[in-house]
């Protein structure tokens, strides 16, 4: 391989920086046009409902199953640690707070990126490669309004709901393990949870987190599909990018949001 001069390396570094900025700029214009552009032709509500089904309802199974298992594991781990200090009655509180504040929004967003996000990228990328997006545009229908906007809104709406379902079934799974299997007194389990979980601080903050994650994950997924190179390899790379970028963005944003919401500054 040819050795690069320092100047050439600097040039490539600058080029990469410009490319990143250009992509960011494109993705912002893309988002604004899709969300606030002139109204679409066709039935917007019908398009939204269709996407809510394929993005939200079709993700339910993975969310519910994962939620139950994570709640069960949390309960098992929490019980074994808390029992050392004689505080096993607090396991309900621990499971609920962990799920509502952290794992509900974060794991839902990661699962959503893997299941629905990758599907969104692949679907839109495939539409691009088979000229369906061009065809829509030539019929006089803006693909940003007809294809992208309903998917964006469906992601924004469905992910917070999925996160709530995740937390609820997780708490149920945790209760099942703690109460039915490990013998924690049912009254303490629920009473501790009820007394320590604050709606504003825990439930609402968790909801805000999942709204932010929904926005970022869906935006990344649809933009990667729309902006991908219209070849098999391009679609495959874009799908991988969606999962990687969305996961990293969720984890990074989670830290920032947690610091803002729960940090004592």
């Amino acid at each position: 391989m040819r050795k690069q001069s320092p100047l050439e390396r600097l040039r490539l570094f600058g080029r990469a920086g410009i490319d990143v900025l250009a992509t960011l700029g494109r993705s912002c214009i893309f988002l604004v046009r899709a969300l606030f552009g002139r109204g679409t032709s066709g039935n917007a509500l019908q398009l939204l409902v269709k996407q809510l089904y394929s993005i939200g309802v079709m993700s339910l199974a993975i969310i519910v199953v994962s939620g139950v298992f994570i709640g069960m594991v949390l309960s098992l781990q929490g019980f074994s640690i808390l029992a050392k200090y004689g505080s096993e009655q607090a396991v309900g509180q621990m499971v609920a707070l962990t799920l509502l504040r952290e794992l509900g929004p974060v794991v839902t967003a990661l699962l959503f990126a893997g299941r629905a996000g990758s599907a969104l990228t692949a679907e839109i990328g495939n539409m691009k490669s088979t000229e369906q997006l061009s065809s829509l545009a030539m019929i006089g229908v803006d693909p940003l309004k007809y294809i992208v906007a309903p998917r964006l809104w469906a992601g924004f709406i469905s992910m917070p709901l999925l996160a709530m379902i995740f937390s609820v079934v997780g708490i149920w799974g945790g209760a099942m393990v703690a109460v039915e299997w490990l013998g924690v007194y049912e009254g303490s389990f629920w009473a501790n949870m009820q007394s320590s979980v604050s709606f504003r601080e825990d439930v609402l903050n968790g909801l805000i987190k999942s709204l932010v994650f929904a926005f970022v994950v869906t935006w990344i997924a649809v933009f990667q599909g729309y902006d991908c190179e219209p070849t098999s390899e391009g679609i495959s790379r874009a799908t991988t990018r969606t999962v990687v970028y969305a996961s990293l963005a969720v984890l990074g944003l989670d830290f920032i949001l947690t610091a803002l919401m729960f940090g004592d500054f």
Binding site: R33, T130, Q132, S134, S135, A137, M138, G140
Partner: protein
Amino acid sequence: MSAGNEYAVELKGVSFKRGDRAIFNDIDIRLPRGKVTGIMGPSGCGKTTLLRLIGAELKPSQGEVWVNGQNLPQLSRSELFDMRKQMGVLFQSGALFTDLDVFENVAFPLRVHTKLPEEMIRDIVLMKLQAVGLRGAVDLMPDELSGGMKRRVALARAIALDPQILIYDEPFVGQDPIAMGVLVRLIRLLTDALGITSIVVSHDLAETASIADYLYVVGDTQVLGQGTPEELMNSDNPRIRQFMKGTPDGPVPFHFPAANYREDLLGGR
């Protein structure tokens, strides 16, 4: 307003580049209203790019593209989408919507741009499908159709709104002789009966020449020649003659620019 009534589409001094490679360099093309104009040229010469410039999917690096009196590069995004309602485009791949069946594909432009009652939409869709010989395939999904059938359904969709300008990108590829004959007649009929301006991009010489009123031959970033099919057949220009007669030897190279063949084989990499 540049384009008068005589020309539906005018490209004035248009240049287009992909990266550093020039596809077109200062070309002028005028497509007469209500006629079939063929755009021909060797593979890779930029015929499809030309269509995308006319449809404003691509912006020229330089020059003006006038369609029905509007300079496309100057239109806003929403004005562009409005303008495209006057156009129908038949893509090379058909570009049918894969989640809709044949009926819904053809009905799509009618549903999004009109408020026609369902019975009327049904009648129009069946009439358009009858015209392309696929009324019987109304319930099939796109993945159940052959390549040629997909393009015929796409043609039915392209004419669903009776556009003023119809652009065909390689309409004859993959058609059996019967379908080919019907398509050729249909393009001519649509133009004559409805006064549509038809732009046929193709390298199927015989078929295109048989229906075109006027032909452009593009290649090497330029318009190599233009005229009626007869004029081009009898052209003295060696490039035009080579293309119209389909001979491999001549000024238009068959091979993509490459290093010396012998050196390439013996030199290794």
